[in-house]
Amino acid sequence: MVATTRKVNPPDGDRRWKIVEATMRRHGYASTALIETLHSIQETFGFVSRDALNYVAESLNIPPAKVFGVATFYNLFNLNPVGEHVFSLCTGTACYVKGAGEIVDFMKEEFGLEPGQTTPDGKLTFMVARCVGACGLAPVMILDGEVVGKLSVEEMKAKIREWVNHDK
């Protein structure tokens, strides 16, 4: 764990890179800070771009292949930009036995989206979550960060339609 003293410039002049830099500094630019730094990038920019990966690799002195390997191993990191609105469906067991699978089909039929996909207009991203731990409310969905639960499958569909059409 040799901390680098070489100053690496961020990919562009975006001031938000300061936040990412602060995370790396807090960890003394140790290579072990890779995952924490990726979290910081995603929280700041919404996704982890190729430029960002390069910036981390150079700043923390980690081989590019390893950075890419780590970033793709974990489901949480998006390497592509997400849509303006994000619909997350919990597919934990409790939600599954209460019909979450039908919502996956519904998203396909209604919006043409498979899990992980974004509509061509960049408006809506459909993600599935492996149990958000709110099983008491199953089935659970998350509309732009708001947890919605305890609805029947039909009620869920109605709610999704209403939410999607909200800003039209």
């Binding site: 292949a65 890419f68 390997g69 793709t72």
Partner: protein
């Protein structure tokens, strides 16, 4: 006071007595004595990871399976390297590998020099009981000297380890996980554009199949050169 001789352990392999020093593995001892245990991921000189699971041997009494490449024998251990159970497991593992990607020996540069093929032959694999998954992969021929065909990759990780541990370049790693795992170059960059690759070719020659090969070889022409391997092992033993 512990003397070096006190750390020599005696045990049996397939009923016959053997001994091992402190740092020898079951596989080391077996190979020294001409006992064949199949492996696909292990290679002397790079760190064992025990991931192909072919070298699993049975510990008599408990019936426990351990990877021979990474397990050191214990005093009094009774090790079984071959029985119907192990043979069936090994066959299944090889069949799983065949089902995973597109291994077509007839068009492979490594036909006749392939470790997967020879292990399959030795185990008497004559059909695959699992459905072929038929994934679709592209060939990366961007490197001037070498090419990679992921259809033939068994994800043994030898290329990744040799590049990191011996060459010190860490040009290769894995991306994604599970069945979607792939060997990559840098940021999944075309090999020919890799700024970190030294072009040393060790990855090509440790690859057990035709996944990594020299360019310009035709079917069955790609014999791997492993002359450098004993030096790798020596280097490691000398403490790098």
């Amino acid at each position: 006071m512990m003397t070096p001789t006190a750390t020599v352990k005696t045990f049996t392999i397939d009923g016959k007595p053997y001994s091992a020093t402190e740092d020898e593995t079951i596989l080391d001892v077996a190979r020294e004595n001409g006992i064949d245990i199949p492996t696909l991921c292990h290679l002397e000189g790079i760190l064992p990871t025990g991931q192909c699971r072919l070298c699993m041997v049975e510990i008599q009494g408990s019936g426990r399976l351990v990877p021979a490449c990474a397990t050191k024998p214990e005093e009094g251990m009774e090790i079984v390297t071959d029985n119907p159970r192990l043979r069936n497991y090994r066959k299944m593992i090889v069949e799983l590998l065949f089902s995973e990607r597109n291994h077509i020996c007839a068009v492979c540069v490594s036909n006749g020099h392939c470790e997967l093929q020879s292990v399959a032959q030795k185990l008497g694999v004559n059909h695959v009981r699992f459905a072929y998954l038929h994934p679709r992969f592209m060939l990366d021929g961007s490197h001037p000297k070498y090419e990679v065909d992921h259809n033939r990759c068994i994800l043994c990780g030898r290329c990744v380890r040799v590049c990191e541990e011996i060459e010190g370049a860490h040009t290769r790693d894995l991306r994604n996980r599970g069945i979607r795992t792939m060997v990559i170059t840098d940021f999944d960059t075309p090999w020919g554009e890799s700024p970190t690759c030294t072009g040393c070719g060790k990855c090509v020659h440790v690859c057990p199949t035709g996944a990594l090969a020299e360019k310009g070889k035709s079917v069955a022409e790609m014999a791997k050169r492993r002359h450098f391997l004993p030096y790798l092992a020596l280097r490691r033993r000398g403490g790098k």
